[in-house]
Symmetry: C2
DNA sequence: GTCTATAAATAGATAGAC
DNA sequence: GTCTATCTATTTATAGAC
């Protein structure tokens, strides 16, 4: 019995390998970061051979693109949840997306660096492009409602807001905050930065 | 003659290999990023064998620590230059360090992610620790002069300021700004973010 | 101080068996 | 659809010649 349990690893992974590869990729990214990501490691996590992934994705970048697309979709869902929980204050509805971003990247390992990775745009993946654009539109709308400003101002604010959140989470992953800050504390810092940015942006 | 010129590569690199390795590491980091860094590549750039670096550094991490230390020193110099050029307005003297950071990382390839890399603190490298602390103290002082606020507020502002600058430069390197923005334009964006943060921070 | 040669990992990817 | 086996390339690091 325990023999069978052991043999389940290293043996067939029936039918659902493609989504399982994507899910295992998130786990590896969360633990090892983009630098530590490899197709072989993902396969090992699932107990399949290192050749198996290539039945579902032609190469590493196509797997990454699938992960990036799902990350964008999940991130949009997280933004939606955070905004729904934030109440009715337009400023706060914008601000909470910074916290949601930090928590998402902290737990799932894939953020804008993966979603908008330089090497992936040559794949011309429409699903990925659309998911990325949807994400940006969502933030742009929240910024507009929070500031009442023109498109240019909102675009600048969204950029600053995201860049700060991304900076916090990457420097956190890199060990910059040598104290033992939790991901929730980093999320609070990112939201505080977003509030400061909003205070420094004209409203009306 | 051209034969000799060719043979200069692949042959002895007299006497100055240690600093040359550090300098070549910056070049590789600037072109390929932290992920694309390898001791072997650095050696190839200098036309020495892949074994040669190990006469000067016991392992990869010790080379990285030397690079990180020099990056911290150079970055402090760049901050000094930028501040000196900024004139007398305390706010602007603080803000320009964001631009200096972006330009430095854009051209040299090594920023806070390298200087405060997680794996390097176990080396207990005093020179690196001191250089990093000096960098932070410099920014803390500029923030104090710009805001006149307490230590806590300044620390928060410096964090937000750095995190935004770092976020801009990493997302720029990652291809997030698919437009053909130059590093100077990204530096301007980082300074604009810093001004917005300063506006959103109480002064007095 | 640098070289050649080499070892042991690990990576991405392919061919062909089952 | 997954496996075993294999190829090629690359990495970190060491041993020993010069």
């Amino acid at each position: 019995m325990s023999e069978k349990a052991q043999n389940q690893r290293g043996r067939y992974h029936h039918g659902e390998l493609r989504p399982a590869l994507i899910e295992a990729s998130f786990g590896l990214l969360a633990e090892s970061g983009l630098a530590g990501f490899s197709v072989a490691q993902v396969a090992r996590r699932l107990g399949v051979s290192t050749a198996a992934p290539y039945r579902h994705f032609p190469d590493r970048d196509h797997l990454m693109a699938a992960v990036a697309t799902q990350a964008a979709v999940e991130l949009a869902e997280e933004f939606g949840r955070a905004v729904a929980d934030a109440g009715s204050d337009p400023a706060e509805r914008f601000v909470v997306t910074a916290g949601a971003y930090v928590r998402f990247v902290g737990t799932r390992g894939a953020g804008f660096d993966v979603i908008f990775a330089a090497g992936l745009e040559r794949l011309q993946n429409a699903a990925l492009t659309d998911a990325g654009r949807h994400l940006m539109d969502l933030l742009w709308e929240l910024a507009e409602q929070a500031t009442g400003q023109d498109q240019e101002t909102c675009l600048t604010l969204v950029g600053q807001h995201l860049v700060a959140a991304h900076g916090y989470v990457t420097l956190y992953a890199g060990g910059f905050f040598h104290r033992q800050e939790t991901i929730d504390e980093i999320a609070d810092l990112a939201m505080a930065a977003s509030r400061t940015l909003l205070r420094g942006t004209p409203t009306g």
